[in-house]
Symmetry: D2
Subunit: 333 residues, 4 copies
């Protein structure tokens, strides 16, 4: 029997996940809820499911799993609601901008025996996953230094940015989780620098658009993250891991692998420049993993706890910039 | 209203096309026929359509389009049957091993006013298509020399090979069509060499596994095709077009874009090594183009005529090897 | 004791070789001769050697080795002169446009017990040499198919072309020798196509600027050569060898290995676009090999015989184009 | 008239520079000095110059320029000696491990009107120079983020390391200078992390083998340096500069540009793994620039002042690690 799934939120990413559910024989999309009822109706029609109220979904014993695709400030309450209702929940990152609140709802879901999976989709990118598999296969020996380059094609609009919790919680958080995924060990100290080079209005709201972060683990492994809200050449998403016996890296992605040579030189197309296109396979694999963890009753990964740790690292980055010093993860809560 | 489609043949490629139909909102798979009724039943169940007899499909006024996915020696008769019945037909290559018969059924389909599209899927590969778009955009000036490298991961089994018409009609035919696609002009002369280096049993049936072909057009453009039934490193599929102002090429494809460096050097994974995986996007785009040509009532491309020309070029290659000389396309039929 | 060397001819390539002699501790440049005495004087001054007459060099028992860097139509006579004089001779390709005459002087040099080495510099390119070493190390198994792409940045001037013996003897000859170098076996049949796409005046003198050649050996190995007298993107010099266990290729060369990404895509510089810059290392290694063969009294490679075989293959290409058929090497002389 | 040059020190790098002098028509190597007279004699014989005492070189009015190629702890005294003697001096980095002393001798050389150039050879690498030229040509807009990856093939021996001033003054100093070269602006703050992952004995002497550094300029530009004393895959030397309109990068270098494909994938050779091989062209260009600055009476670049700034940045890195905080360059002296 396929698992009945509801989606909360009817926006862009909800549509991506609905497509993943449809192509997954083990799941069936049965309901959608959205604060805007017309959006829910359109979505319901498009995907052949019912538009319902959140409370009604929570109360429906036929619905086993919920995907939370709403704005960040609603995540914690929804996780709580569905956790209490015993639903297995997948939630887009971050859990909440407040770490205490995030911890609370993650603990509540756990207490209720409901699975909670966080939407760090990049863990499911086939290229990044192949990097981790190469590490696990021992191809580079012991991991020593991780380099993550992550640059958005352009700056977010100010309205979005002002509710996002800042670059570290909104953008770097993906890379902080990726560093943990590749280290196989938690960072214990953080140094960060940040500035405004792209969009001056971000300075007005106390945010940044260009950031560099060093993470260090107890055993001395180091990671560096390079973030920019600008990349004229596409969506720049690369990782490299240097180890005691070698190095493994994942290249950027293009729509087509052609090259033109002429008197000015050799030219390849720009990178894929939109996160949904770049991470199409990752989104599908992520939802498949969530469904599989329910079907197989295995712990979901990344977990709610992974979401809390990434948040704490983001908070440590913020403090490092503000206080101009290295911050220990222990200091954060 | 979506177009009702039937598939003749329930094998591997039929399943690929069924997937393409399912994800196409303008088409609906309604029926399947297969010489083996159990195969048709399984297929029908899997894809939610009816298993029917070929004649019944041909007679059904509700069915507008047919995909022929059966063995080569049935193609001509099926094209004829469905052409007479006024169905729009998509047929896997080749039309027939006999050029006269191929011409006949192509003409018959045309006379009946039914569209006929040939399955030269590589024209729809996004990378190869981007090569042609670069040419059309004038990025390399006038086309002068085309290089096509096409190597299968392994030799076909002898039973298949002995019914295939030989390497030129079975394998090279794709590259002959590709050369035409890139030239924008028909070859007029052909020189070919062929030998058996991979699978000695091919020599026993008069076939080859390694071949090199030169095509030349009336204006002196040259193409070279390099074929092998062996490529330990994957499914080697590359094209390069050199023109008066530059060169454009399409690289091989891999499942993941990672690289490992160690004391032995830098290592990337082998190529995708199966035609269905390598050309996934091409197959989907090909079927979409067929449906679109029906919906928009535009001529299908590649046409039945394209299929005949490719066959004639394949025949010219065979004669060139046998007669150890350059063969004019005019000599063939 | 370093070997005393004289250079005949004071042009461009003579200067390249003089530099190679200077940096070689086992050789010393002692004399130069040139039909134009002022050119010889300038050269002598620049390189610190004596400007002398050819006959005087031939008669000088102190001079052990001679490099012939004069126009093609003087090669045979000079090889003969120096061979009779017992000098070890290095000669730029080709030996002579007439195969009979070439055979004659090669035989004469051999009879005199003097070494004769031919200037197929590409055999000494470190990248191409590494390709052959990979083959010899068994990394690709048995050689099956060789692909040589060789495109000049621009067409030669007509005066030069009209004395050059045509594209096959002047340009393709390098690639014919390279195919032999990589095959480890001689071609027995040849098919060639050629046309004029670049420089219409070449048609007036019966020459071509665009050519494609297939070579086949007795065991069925195939090579394809793609030549053009045009490559807007630089000097295009690539080889690829496909074998029973793998493939090995050598990439083109650039002056600097940088890449720029911007909103139009990713851009690398054009190729090195001059044969002397592209093959700097090859020229130096070639002369070093000549000197070493004298010092170590080992047979020079490529030999005069290699020069004759390459000429015969070039002649076979010409005939193939003219007679529109496959030509056996046996038919040539 | 060529400039007469003396070399102090007869070791490995002295030999590299002697070769550069020999091939430079504007310079002539006339003398060498070394603490070990037999080393000086051997060197003198090899390069055709005189073995002399340092004082005698300093006193010789015929000698205009001196290259200091001795151990670090002798640099400052020698710069002082030759500065007072009015010689133009090229000195390998660093000037001195003590910043005060370094400042002193740089000032003294300047007061004496003698040129002083520092051996940051990487500024002369053709690939890195092409990166800077691309920046200067406006191809990437305003520089925003610089990424420098610099990994040695292996750890230094402990005896060397213990006199080297530690990883930041010995190894990172090159990258600190490179960041300035690419920024076109001085860093004002520094954060560094360092650990021992490769060679445990380095911990015993208070040194590190793995380090990550962030540099930030007053305008908010950021650079990150990734250093390791290990790279099994060769000598890893890459730079990347991200700007407002694009990105430019320089790739690693290999001896040969071949690739082998087989059933395990595609394989390229390891990187050049020795700094003298990797930076051959850079060393030659560096010495040529020094000679040209004397011949043309232009200020040498990198200057003694550049050497002092790089030292101060290295000191800031050390303090950042020790004090676990961001350090301002202003705090250092």
């Amino acid at each position: 029997m396929p698992i009945n799934v509801a989606i909360i939120g009817a926006g862009r990413i909800a549509n991506v996940h609905a497509g993943a559910i449809r192509s997954n024989p083990e799941a069936r999309l049965v309901a959608v809820a959205d604060a805007l009822s017309s959006a829910a109706e359109t979505f319901a029609q498009k995907w052949g499911c019912a538009a319902r109220a959140t409370a009604s979904i929570a109360a429906d014993p036929e619905i086993e799993a919920v995907l939370i695709c709403t704005p960040t400030d609603t995540h914690a309450d929804l996780i709580e609601t569905f956790g209490k209702a015993g639903k297995h929940t997948f939630c887009e990152k971050p859990v909440d901008l407040d770490i205490g609140r995030a911890r609370e709802v993650v603990a509540a879901a756990e207490a209720a025996g409901a699975k909670l999976m966080l939407g760090f989709n990049r863990r499911f990118d086939p290229h990044f996953r192949a990097v981790r598999e190469a590490i696990e296969a021992g191809r580079i020996g012991r991991v020593e230094m991780v380099t993550i380059t992550s640059r958005d094609p352009g700056a977010p609009d100010i309205a979005y940015a002002s509710r996002s919790g800042g670059i570290f919680r909104d953008m770097t958080i993906h890379d902080l989780d990726m560093a943990r995924f590749l280290f196989g060990e938690d960072p214990v100290t953080v140094s960060a620098h940040a500035s405004v080079l792209v969009e001056p209005r971000l300075a007005e709201i106390g945010d940044f658009d260009s950031a560099t972060v060093i993470l260090e683990t107890a055993s001395g492994k180091q990671a560096v993250i390079s973030n920019s809200r600008r990349a004229s050449y596409g969506y720049d998403q690369r990782i490299e891991v240097h180890g005691s016996k070698g190095v493994v890296s994942a290249e950027n992605q293009r729509a087509v692998a052609i090259e033109v040579g002429d008197e000015d030189g050799y030219h390849r197309p720009p990178l894929l420049n939109f996160f949904m296109t770049r991470y199409t396979a990752a989104y599908a694999a992520e939802i498949a993993a969530f469904i599989a963890s329910i079907a197989g009753n295995s712990p979901p990964e990344p977990s709610g706890e992974d979401g809390v740790t990434a948040l704490r690292l983001a908070e440590a980055c913020s403090r490092s910039v503000t206080e101009r010093r290295r911050v220990c993860l222990d200091e954060v809560e």
